[in-house]
Subunit: 310 residues, 2 copies
């Protein structure tokens, strides 16, 4: 189902024969990238974003994919779908390519700060999400930290690690991981606050793009280089596909009681397809029920552990 | 001057004719990588690390380069050399390659947390360091932050930005930058706390190494690829040199009243040479005096601005 300006959507849909049965729900308004989330909550009930999330609440669609305003999408999702029982704050996921496949990093932008309980919840949600996405029975989980110093990292990260070890013995929790461990694929799920996660992700994207630019430069530097590059066209195509950010497009809003996937605003057709395919892959996996159950158990155990410690 | 086990050093020095006049100060002990900084401060006075820093305090050497235990090196430097007037906390720099040359990122590991005043001091120190290193008259400075959300970043980063704008009008302060801006070379100096800086740096190194691994894989995949790669040997060598981390080796301890450069423990000869050359390049630049003066002025102005606001 498409939510948006019917007049604009119809010719685009008509150009793709496989979409001939697509349903369009006309929405006269849309959320602008500069709209404040609070403004959309108050006055955005006739926007395409609101209507799409509302359709999920009403059970008319199973999942929503949007390339729009992230803050507004999060606010509208929380207001209409609510949060999973026991979860206070949502987290946005990112897929990070590794030599072993994909690592999930969360949070990459929903929360500027996260306390120890929220980091624990992110770990539980990330684990269940990775399981639903890949079928891995026991995904490995690590907390992002710094390594070199005597007192490793913030106290709250150390506390979160203690709670995960004590209260969630079923999780394959591997303790702390460092920035370089993400690209190594050292664990399946890397947990951090939204500020650090966003900066880690964007710093890595920047570095990958820099190296990609250098490759391009060297391949076209001389005639011999150009001929050499021609001879390895297949290899370079593989390389381009691997670096291509569209293959990892789609940030899932974990913790929200629904399936909402944010597609990058600048994603191409392959990127949007990847986001839609991720959303579809989560439908019917029951991972939200699993998250709610695990969180209830871990919160109870963590509370008891705290009482015992007092 | 070399500080260490003379018996071990002599044959290494003899193998390099240009070092024939090198002075060795024999030290029976050394600091182990696992030694706690506090332990070294209390019982490490006969270690090579202590003796080297002591030699700088005594004016026998102008700068110290060490590949040893970072925490201990920082503690020994602070204890013996003291801090610059007005500076409470040191910061470790990293050089980050960009298409425009090099960007300095600090702090990348001395402090897990930094308050707004420390971020302001880091900005002033980073600016003076970049000027001393490159001769750029007005280095541009940015504060690392996240972009997408309505309320951008932590409150303390916003406060630091306000202080820099109001109290240091001579600085080419460009406001907030995001993770991907570092590799773009958007500014000359990127300021952040040690936790975030360490994770940004290591995440980017990991991503660059991942892309480098993919390149290698594709270049050797087929015979045609191999021949193609051979034809562009020169280009690939250039590429390797650019990705080579040894070209950016050397973290300077800013804020300490001396010149101390930490070389990566796993650096090769080119890496160590880069660290030594950076240390030598800082000698006689007077950047410490400049830092102390700027910090005195900015602290006074910031104090007045706060009084006026009350």
């Amino acid at each position: 189902m498409f939510f948006g300006d019917e007049e604009a959507l119809r010719p685009l849909i008509a150009a793709e024969p496989r979409l001939k049965n697509a349903v369009v729900e006309h929405c006269a308004k849309s959320v602008a990238m500069t709209d404040k989330p609070m403004h959309v909550l108050r006055r955005g009930r006739d926007t395409s974003m609101w209507k799409a999330i509302e359709a999920q609440k009403e059970g008319r669609v199973h999942a929503v994919v949007s390339g729009g305003n992230t803050g507004a999408l999060m606010a509208v999702s929380r207001m209409q779908l609510g949060m999973l029982p026991g979860v206070d704050r949502p987290a946005v996921t990112a897929l990070w390519p590794t030599p072993r496949g994909r690592t999930v990093v969360l949070d990459v932008g929903a929360n500027v700060e996260a306390n120890e309980h929220e980091l624990v919840d992110f770990a539980i949600m990330g684990e269940a999400f990775f399981r639903a996405l890949t079928g891995t029975k026991k995904p490995t989980v690590g907390l992002l930290n710094v390594g070199a110093e005597e007192l490793k990292g913030h106290e709250l990260i150390r506390n979160a690690a203690r709670v995960l070890r004590e209260a969630d013995p079923d999780m394959a929790f591997k303790g702390f991981v460092e920035g370089n461990d993400i690209s190594l694929g050292a664990v399946d799920v890397v947990v951090t606050d939204g500020f650090t996660g966003n900066i880690a992700l964007k710093s890595a994207e920047g570095a990958a793009r820099l190296v990609g630019g250098w490759i391009k430069e060297e391949l076209t530097r001389s005639l011999l280089s150009k001929i050499g590059a021609l001879m390895m066209t297949g290899g370079l195509k593989n390389l381009k596909a691997k670096i291509d950010p569209s293959s990892v497009n789609g940030g899932v809003f974990l913790g929200v009681n629904g399936i909402v996937v944010k597609s990058h605003g600048g994603a191409d057709e392959k990127g949007v397809a990847a986001a839609i395919s991720m959303a579809a892959g989560l439908v019917g996996k029951g991972f939200r029920k699993e998250v709610a159950q695990t969180i209830a158990i871990v919160h109870e155990r963590a509370g008891k552990a705290l009482e015992a410690a007092e």
